[in-house]
C-alpha cells in the first residue's frame, strides 16, 4: 500500500509544530504561501514570548504581511496543523487569506467548524476557501503525545 503523501506545505507546518513541542509550547505550526512560494513559516509560542496572541497563524500572518509590506495577503494561502480558534480565524479574515488548509479539527477550541464559526456570520467581511483534514492524523497525534507527556 502506498500512503498518499502530504502536501509539502503541510509537512512544513508539521515541522514547525514539532519545533514548538521541542520548546515546550503546544505543537501547532503554520505556513503562508503565495504563488507556490513559502512567504513565512511560524509556530505557536505564547509562553516563551509572553504573548497570548502568539499562535502559529498570527505569527505567520504577521511575518508574511511584514515581508510583503502589505496588511492584506491577497492571493495567499495559509496552511496550519489545527483548526483555527476565533482569534486566528478573525485574523485570517482581516488578512484576506484566499485559501485556508488545516489538519486536525478542534472541537475544544476551534472556531471554523465549531463554536463561534467565525466565517459564517455577516460580520465576517472576507471568507477564505476552507480545506480541512490534510495531515490530521499527524497533527492530532503530535498534540496527543504532547499533552500525554505533560499529564
Amino acid at each position: 500500500m502506498t500512503r498518499w503523501p502530504l502536501p509539502a506545505y503541510m509537512q512544513l507546518a508539521l515541522a514547525q509544530a514539532r519545533e514548538a513541542a521541542d520548546c515546550g509550547e503546544v505543537p501547532i505550526g503554520a505556513v503562508v504561501v503565495k504563488d507556490g512560494a513559502v512567504i513565512a513559516a511560524a509556530r505557536n509560542g505564547p509562553r516563551e514570548r509572553h504573548d497570548p496572541t502568539s499562535h502559529a497563524e498570527i505569527e505567520a500572518i504577521r511575518a508574511a504581511a511584514a515581508i510583503l509590506g502589505n496588511e492584506r495577503l491577497e492571493g495567499c494561502e495559509l496552511w496550519v496543523t489545527l483548526e483555527p480558534c476565533a482569534m486566528c480565524a478573525g485574523a485570517i479574515s482581516h488578512a484576506r487569506i484566499a485559501r485556508l488548509y488545516y489538519g486536525a479539527s478542534d472541537p475544544k477550541g476551534g472556531a471554523v467548524e465549531h463554536g463561534a464559526r467565525v466565517f459564517e456570520h455577516d460580520q465576517c467581511l472576507h471568507r477564505p476557501e476552507v480545506y480541512a483534514g490534510i495531515g490530521e492524523t499527524e497533527a492530532a497525534e503530535m498534540l496527543r503525545s504532547f499533552f500525554r507527556a505533560r499529564r
Copy 2:
C-alpha cells in the same frame, strides 16, 4: 445640566483613537489597566504597520503582556472604544482579561453582542465580565466623522 464624566480610562482610550485618526487609521483605541494603574495604551494601526492583526486591543494586550512578562493578564481590565471583533474577542479570552469595557457597539464587525458572539460558546475557555456603552457617543462620532471625511 451636568453630563456624567467618562471614566479616565475610557478618556485615555478615546485619546488613542483620536491619534489613530490623525495617522489616517480607523479611530479605535484601547487601554489595559491593572489594580488602577495603566499598563498599556494603544491604537489601531494595521495600514501603517503592515499588520492585519494591529487592532487597538491586540496592540494593548501584547504590550501589557510584554511589560508584565506573562502571557496571562489575570486581574487586568481592557477598555476599548468599540465592540471587539472576533479576532480581538479571542485574544481577550486567551489573555484572561478579567473585565472588558467598551464604548460603541459594532453591528457590522463586532463579535461580542453581534455575529460570532465569541464569549458565548463552550469553545471559549475564559469569559471576561463585559460592560458596554461607556463613551459610546464619543467613540461612534469619531468613527462617523472619520469615514465621512473619506467618502
